[in-house]
Every structure is written in structure tokens, then in C-alpha cells.
């Protein structure tokens, strides 16, 4: 096998390292947590997360995916779901979220839609008795997410004890729990928005077309694209000419517009709202 020598001196780049770390987290999780499901919002991050899971498990996703459905997703999003749920052969649970009236009326409207999602998630966790939920949040999205752990325990009400998180270092995580606890697993925690897009390009991962710039009647001649995709009425496009993967990546290298600027809820309009939502179990 003389040709072996040709590959000597293999070196990893930043994306290789990010990928290897996520696969490591997935495999630790799969060994330690017995009843797991993964959230799929159809956004770029959760598509990357499914891709990484398939790398970790050699093409399979050996646990169900959950979509907390408010029936308010954009049409492109539902089309994307129908196509790739079939193409990737995943086991998708569509969980209908409880209505708006069941949420805390003191919250702003956009936060109440988010609280519906939390309600749907809590219901499906309870019904199916999941003790681990894989979520595609990243540290660079938002201040409280920047303080998260890879393995983040929640009590039986889904509450996050943010002031007393378990130590986590040297890739040793809290993976055993008293009964009644469930754990959020965050395999994308260390990725940035830019790296997600670089990886989507490198690995040829499909995304909802709303991420690419186009004209919308309500914005006239302006080119607009979604930086982050959420429900109708609480997520908006931002002005941007980036219509290809290359253009998005170039834009992100230089932009000073925050990723969640198209989402009133995540943009700290009311600084305590997001933390309240997350402490109560929001993603």
C-alpha cells in the first residue's frame, strides 16, 4: 500500500476541530442519556446539528426529532420540513404548542409566542418521558446562552438554575442525575454564526431559501434576507444584498448587525425577558 504515504501529515483546520468536538459531545450524550430527542426548528443551526449527528452515528439519527409547532412557521419552512424529513429518513414528532392564552400575559407578544414553544416542549417531554433534549443554541447568539454548559441540567419543571451551574472542564460533563432531572445537551455551543455558514458551504448542507436576499413587496425595492428564522409576525428580514453562500460568509466577516436583530424578543429590547424565558425552560 504505497499510496498511504501520500496522506501523511494530515492537519485539522478550525472547522475540523469544531466538528470533532460536536461529534464528541453527541457520542458522550448517546452513551450516557437513555431517552433522548433533538429539537429541529428547520433553521440553519439545527440542520447543521442533524448533519453532525449523522457524522457521529454513521448516517443515522438514532433518536427522534421534535418540532414544537405553533402553526405560525413561514411557508418555505413547512416546505423544507416536508422535503427533508422524508429525504433524511428522520423520525419527526410534531408537537402542537398550547395556545397563546395559556402563556404569561405580562410578557411582550413575541415572548409569549416563545413561551408557547416552551409549553409544547414541556408537554412532549412529559408525555414521552425524555430525560435528554438536544438543542442547537450557540454561545455567540446571546448573553445568557454565552454562559451555558454543554450538559445543562433542568429540574422537573424545566427550570434552569443559572446561578449554580455544574462545573464542566477537560471535556468532563455532568451526565448522571438524580431522578426528576432532565438535561439539555448543546453540541453547537462553541460554534459562531460565521462558522455555521462556512460549514454549510463546505458540507453542502441544505437551508431554507429565506436566508438569501430577495425583494419582498412590503419592503419595496430593498434586498432583504432573514438572519435568523422564527415564526411569522415575530421574525423579520434585515436589509442585505447577500444572495449566495459566498456573499453571506463575506457579509458575516464584517457585519456589526447582530444575528437576532430581526427578532424583537432576542435583541434585548427588554433585557430581562429572555433570561426569564430561558430560566423557565425556553431554548
Amino acid at each position: 500500500m504505497n499510496d498511504l504515504s501520500a496522506t501523511l501529515g494530515r492537519t485539522l483546520d478550525d472547522l475540523d476541530r469544531l466538528e470533532a468536538q460536536s461529534i464528541y459531545i453527541f457520542r458522550e450524550m448517546f452513551h450516557k442519556i437513555d431517552k433522548v430527542a433533538m429539537l429541529w426548528s428547520f433553521g440553519k443551526d439545527s440542520n447543521v446539528m442533524i448533519h453532525l449527528a449523522r457524522k457521529a452515528y454513521f448516517g443515522k439519527v438514532p433518536f427522534p426529532l421534535i418540532h414544537c409547532d405553533t402553526e405560525l412557521e413561514m411557508n418555505d419552512v413547512y416546505q423544507f420540513r416536508d422535503r427533508y424529513a422524508k429525504e433524511w429518513g428522520v423520525n419527526l414528532i410534531s408537537e402542537m404548542c398550547p395556545p397563546l392564552e395559556t402563556t404569561d400575559a405580562s410578557l411582550p407578544h413575541s415572548a409569549r409566542v416563545a413561551a408557547r414553544k416552551t409549553g409544547g416542549l414541556k408537554n412532549v417531554i412529559k408525555r414521552m418521558r425524555f430525560n435528554g433534549i438536544v438543542v442547537g443554541i450557540r454561545r455567540d447568539e446571546e448573553g445568557t446562552r454565552a454562559k451555558e454548559r454543554y450538559f445543562s441540567p433542568r429540574d422537573d419543571e424545566g427550570q434552569w438554575e443559572v446561578k449554580d451551574q455544574p462545573p464542566e472542564f477537560w471535556d468532563q460533563f455532568m451526565t448522571d442525575f438524580p431522578s426528576g432531572t432532565h438535561v439539555r445537551i448543546h453540541p453547537l455551543l462553541h460554534w459562531s454564526e460565521l462558522e455555521i455558514w462556512q460549514y454549510i458551504q463546505r458540507e453542502n448542507i441544505p437551508v431554507v431559501p429565506l436566508y438569501f436576499a430577495r425583494k419582498y413587496p412590503e419592503y419595496g425595492d430593498k434586498l432583504m434576507r432573514y438572519r435568523s428564522i422564527g415564526e411569522k409576525g415575530i421574525t423579520f428580514p434585515v436589509e442585505s444584498p447577500a444572495a449566495t453562500l459566498n456573499e453571506i460568509i463575506e457579509e458575516l466577516k464584517h457585519t456589526k448587525v447582530s444575528e437576532r436583530s430581526g427578532r424583537p424578543m432576542g435583541s434585548d429590547e427588554d433585557e430581562s425577558t429572555f433570561e426569564r424565558l430561558r430560566a423557565d425552560g425556553y431554548m
Partner: protein, 635 residues
């Protein structure tokens, strides 16, 4: 920043930098201001922070960039560690803010342990604080070798060169006494922005590098490709016809065809292939080599018994094996570490039960004095001797950081971390090697590995010990039924089939009890050699006798203590033995007029007084399935 030429993405390499130091010495403030000075704040962030501070009736607070929690903002203190990206023309930094309050040291460690370099911040006005020293010491312990010092709040001391020199000399002397030579010592004001990205007009006497210069001088941690191969087994997958061993290569490189050794089991094998899933990419060329940092999947040319926690090395360059560890520990648990305490030790993917055998010294990180003590309190550092149940594959921390460090779990949480010092500790691999040499004449026998592959489990002895009527035989027979139903090879040895036949010549005097157990130990070993899970249920009251049985069987011996109070046993008394004792018909009865020594280190304790028979059998089944049956995850 758009006008600055960016370095080619391929050449860029992330660098993780942790900011540490005493509480209130201005770490979070420095980070906020650094983002402002490098023009890295997102649009609207400055205005937003202004607004948030006004609402609290406080002056502008740079720390709000990273102190995102309400409690942090309200109390003006960093509680948990944060990671934030700083993208410059040359490089992507991951800036890790670590809390300086003593109470949040576990969060400081969570942030600092993963960093490649550190910036130690000291308040020029307050001078060197308790946590300044402790953090410095912990960096050294965690293996963070690149360190710069920022002497902060120079505005509060009138930008005095004399004050700077005083603090610098004191702190640099401390650092050098623990083996850290700082790259730079820089006078700054985080609040006012002096010396963060450019020279400061307020300090013309300082001509050295600024903060960004200093961060730029750090290099990423080198890959561990040049060290011997170390690949901890994470799991074994059987999603299809392939049996894939997965894990991350922590050091070295591995190629198809390499001869590899699994430790501590000492099994040899050859790499048949690397397995991977390539997504939609059309790169179907087989992978022939993998290197440090990669999460890999591999298959073997021959089937051997593999478990999570095994450490793969090349067969000619193996890690050391030991059941005794000397380590330097930093303790985070709220309950002190004490001599005799037991913990779960995790080293990479391996887990071991350990007992603290000795605390050799406790170190005062303030004045570096060392004292002998019986306990290590929360946030203290000390040197300990740990005794492991079974052998662990380890290395000296100075030789390989990744295989030379571990964490200790108390209940569910990580309660401490440690780095291994193997000087004076014997490598027990040589003893194993001798043993296998002794086996050489019997090579023509069926290989035990082949037996275990055929059976789907290893041969082993489950040694049930406990008082008469504690439930040993009942559980043994129930467990046997369940194991047999699962398709396992299993057999029960107990008084009924041993005492009446093989050992019919023995009574209940101490020397006869000893001989009884010696023979049972040897018979059990033969059954285990035959590949069976043999359940030996005997009162076996003496620790010495059980140890002899363990020696006969080797590491396939599992001591299981069937625990029930004497009162409960007497109440059950299924054979009327206790009654006969009370009536004076039987003497030398264990638990009454003969002693029972409770096992000091059982592998498992089953409490039949507290749990039902079904619950006890479930606990036993869980144990057997996790320890003896090949752990393979499949769909």
C-alpha cells in the same frame, strides 16, 4: 473593520484566552472596553448598555457586555463564566471571562481549564489579592502556560510608575516561585481605555506592548500529533453489520494496519478500517490515517472484547497501568475531601471507584506553605494518594496533559480535578505481561476472547457474601433464571451443591470454613474459564478468604455484598437455622457466635432489607449487563 485586509481563512486559527484575577479588579470591564476600542461592539450595543445603566441609576458599565444575567448586573459581580468572540484582522479570539469571587471558583475553573493563554488582571490600587495568587496557581496546575499580567485601574493611582513597579515586582516574584514567567506585564486602565490597543499618553514612561499586542503574541496550543497514540474508547456501535469502535484521538496518529493495544485489558488487535459518513460530499476515498483531535470510528481485523473506557495505544508504546495514583488536586466540593473518602474518578472516558488513601500535603496558595492535614477543604489544593479498584491506564501530566488529568465526582457533580504525578509509582503492566507469558504453554486452548465473543459476555464470578438468610441463594437462583433467559451461560454454586458433595468432608470450624471457600474459589475460577457467569453464593464471613478467592479468579471476580440486618435475617429464617441456634442446637453460627466481616470494597451492595426481591434482581441485572455483557449501542 471592512477596510482592514483579513488574513486568509485557512491560515487563521482560533485562540482561547481566559481573563482571570481577584474579584472587582476589573476583568469584565476590561473586556467590554476592549471590544469598544477594537470597534467590535455590535450596532446599538453601546446605546443599549447606556440605557440599561441609566435604568439602574448607575454610571456607564462596560462589564454589561459580558455580565448578561440580571443577578450579575444588579449585584455588579460576575457569577458565571462567559465566552465571547473577538474577530481581528489576524485572528479569531475566544475571550473567556472568569468570575473572580471566591464563591464562584468552580466557574472560574470551568472557564480557565479550556483556555490556551491567560490574562491575569490586578487592581493597581488594591494590589495583589488572595484570588490573584490562587488564580495564578490554578493556571499553572491546569497547564495554562502562556500568561500576561495587566495591572489595571492605573487611573486610580495617578498613572504612577512607582506604584506599577511595586505591584509588578510583588506579583512577578509570586508567579516565578510557582514556575510561571509572564510574557508581558502591562499597566492599563480598562475603564479609561489606556494601553488596550495603543500607547497611553497618560503613561509616557511605559513603552512596552499594549493588551492587543500581548494577545497577538500568544500561540495556539500545539497539536499532540508527535506524542504516542492515545485513543480512549467512547462507545461501540453496531448500527448495521459493522462493529465500530468510536472515540477521539487525544494524541498521536493512527493508520489502517497498525497494531494496537487496549488497556487495561491488555488485548491486542489490528486496525482494519476507518469508518465515516461523508454527507452529500462525493469524497468516498477511504480514510487511511487519523490524527490528534479527530473523532474517529474504526473496525478491527479480529473480534476482541472492547469496552468504553479502554485506552487504545500502539502495542509498542503503551501507557502505564496502576491502581495507585499520586495527584495534585484542586477541590471544588462543598464537602471536604478526607482520608478514606470514596469518589468516582473519570479520566477521559474511563471511570474508576477510588478511595483517598493519604493526603500528603495541603498547600496554601497565598504564601505557598505546605502542611500535613487530614482534609482538603473547598478551593484548597493538595497532594494525595488515591487507591483505585482495578487498574487504570494513565500517564504523568508532564508527559501527556490529556491522559494525565482526571476529575473526581462526589454524588453527581464534579467535585475536584487533579493532575497525575507517577514518580515513585510502580508500573503494573510488567506484572500483567509476566502473567500472560506464563499462559504461553496453553496456547492451543480455546482463546477466552473467542469464548466471550461466542457467548456475548465474558466469563466471571459474582461472589455473593452475607449473613445466613440474607437472601443470597434466593437472589442467585432468580438472577440465574433472568440471565439464562437473556441467552447467557450461567450457573449457581451454593452450599446445596458444594457442601453436600465436593466439600462433604468439611465442617464449620474456622479452618474448615477457610478450606471450603478456597475450594469454592478454585471451582468458580474454572467455571469462569469455561466462559460462564458463575454465581457463587456463600456466607464466606472472612475478608481474608474472600480475598483468596479473588486472587484465584483474578479481575473477573465481583464481590457482591448481600446486605441485611441480623434481625431481619433471623425473622426470615427460611430453613429454621436461626431458631435452632437460639435453641442451642447449632453453634459456630455466623452472625450469632461466629463473626461476619463486612466486605470493605465490594463491587456492589444489594440491600435486601430495603428492597424487594424483584428490585434486587433488577439491580443485579443492571450491574451484569453494564459490566459483563458486551456493551454495544445499536438501533
Amino acid at each position: 473593520m471592512g477596510s482592514v485586509a483579513m488574513k486568509d481563512d485557512v491560515a487563521r486559527r482560533q485562540l482561547k484566552i481566559v481573563i482571570v484575577g481577584h474579584v472587582d479588579h476589573g476583568k469584565s470591564t476590561l473586556i467590554g472596553r476592549l471590544f469598544y476600542e477594537t470597534d467590535s461592539l455590535p450596532n446599538g450595543k453601546f446605546e443599549q448598555i447606556t440605557d440599561q445603566c441609566q435604568r439602574r441609576g448607575m454610571p456607564f458599565e462596560w462589564a454589561f457586555l459580558v455580565d448578561a444575567l440580571q443577578a450579575e448586573r444588579d449585584q455588579g459581580v460576575t457569577i458565571d463564566t462567559t465566552q465571547i468572540r473577538l474577530r481581528t484582522a489576524d485572528r479569531d479570539y475566544i475571550i473567556i471571562d472568569a468570575p473572580g469571587h471566591r464563591q464562584f471558583l468552580k466557574n472560574m475553573v470551568s472557564g480557565a481549564a479550556n483556555s490556551e493563554a491567560a490574562l491575569l488582571v490586578i487592581d493597581a490600587n488594591e494590589g495583589v489579592g488572595e484570588q490573584s495568587r490562587r488564580h495564578g496557581y490554578l493556571l499553572q496546575l491546569l497547564g495554562v502556560q502562556q500568561v500576561s499580567v495587566a495591572i489595571n485601574k492605573m487611573d486610580l493611582v495617578g498613572y504612577s510608575e512607582k506604584r506599577f513597579n511595586g505591584v509588578r515586582d510583588e506579583y512577578v516574584a509570586y508567579l516565578s516561585s510557582i514556575g510561571i514567567i509572564p510574557t508581558h506585564v502591562i499597566p492599563i486602565s480598562g475603564k479609561e481605555g489606556d494601553c488596550l490597543t495603543s500607547p497611553s499618553a497618560n503613561m509616557p514612561w511605559y513603552q512596552g506592548p499594549n493588551i492587543m499586542d500581548s494577545l497577538g503574541s500568544f500561540s495556539p496550543k500545539p497539536d499532540l500529533n508527535d506524542l504516542p497514540l492515545r485513543l480512549p474508547v467512547q462507545d461501540i456501535y453496531k448500527f448495521d453489520e459493522r462493529r465500530i469502535i468510536v472515540g477521539r484521538i487525544e494524541s498521536g496518529t493512527l493508520r489502517v494496519g497498525d497494531d494496537i493495544l487496549f488497556s487495561p485489558s491488555n488485548e491486542l488487535a489490528k486496525v482494519a478500517s476507518f469508518e465515516r459518513w461523508g454527507g452529500d460530499l462525493k469524497d468516498n476515498s477511504p480514510q487511511v490515517e487519523a490524527t490528534a483531535g479527530e473523532s474517529v470510528g474504526l473496525t478491527l481485523t479480529e473480534q476482541i472484547f472492547v469496552q468504553r473506557g479502554d485506552l487504545i495505544s500502539h502495542s509498542n508504546d503503551a501507557p502505564e497501568l496502576t491502581n495507585l495514583l499520586r495527584a495534585r488536586i484542586f477541590w471544588l466540593g462543598s464537602t471536604a475531601l478526607e482520608v478514606g473518602s470514596r469518589y468516582l474518578l473519570k479520566i477521559n472516558t474511563a471511570e474508576h471507584q477510588v478511595e483517598v488513601r493519604e493526603i500528603e500535603q495541603v498547600l496554601n496558595t497565598n504564601d505557598l506553605s505546605r502542611v500535613k492535614a487530614n482534609r482538603i477543604e473547598q478551593y484548597e489544593v493538595g497532594e494525595v494518594l488515591l487507591r483505585l479498584r482495578g487498574l487504570a491506564a494513565v500517564e504523568d501530566f508532564s508527559i501527556n496533559h490529556v491522559t494525565g488529568r482526571f476529575v473526581l465526582l462526589d454524588e453527581y457533580r464534579i467535585a475536584g480535578g487533579g493532575t497525575i504525578n507517577l514518580s515513585g509509582i510502580a508500573n503494573q503492566r510488567s506484572e500483567l505481561a509476566v502473567k500472560s507469558e506464563n499462559l504461553h504453554p496453553f496456547e492451543s486452548r480455546i482463546d477466552p476472547v473467542c469464548r466471550s465473543m461466542a457467548n456475548g459476555h465474558v466469563g466471571a464470578v459474582l461472589w455473593f457474601t452475607g449473613l445466613p438468610s440474607s437472601g443470597k441463594s434466593t437472589l442467585a437462583l432468580e438472577l440465574q433464571n433472568k440471565l439464562f433467559a437473556q441467552g447467557n451461560q450461567t450457573f449457581v454454586l451454593d452450599g446445596d451443591n458444594i457442601r453436600s458433595r465436593l466439600n462433604a468432608d468439611l465442617g464449620f470450624e474456622p479452618q474448615d470454613r477457610t478450606e471450603n471457600i478456597r475450594r469454592v474459589g478454585e471451582v468458580s475460577a474454572l467455571f469462569a474459564d469455561a466462559g460462564m457467569i458463575v454465581i457463587s453464593a456463600f456466607v464466606s464471613p472472612y475478608e481474608e478468604d474472600r480475598d483468596r478467592a479473588r486472587a484465584a479468579v483474578g479481575n473477573r471476580f465481583h464481590c457482591i455484598y448481600i446486605d441485611a440486618d441480623a434481625e431481619i435475617c433471623e425473622e426470615r429464617d427460611p430453613h429454621g437455622l436461626w431458631k435452632k441456634v437460639r435453641q442451642g442446637e447449632i453453634s459456630n453460627f455466623t452472625g450469632v457466635d461466629a463473626p461476619y466481616e463486612v466486605p470493605a470494597y465490594p463491587e456492589l451492595v444489594i440491600n435486601t432489607g430495603e428492597y424487594s426481591i424483584d428490585q434486587c434482581v433488577d439491580q443485579l441485572l443492571d450491574y451484569v449487563n453494564s459490566q459483563l455483557v458486551e456493551p454495544v449501542r445499536s438501533l
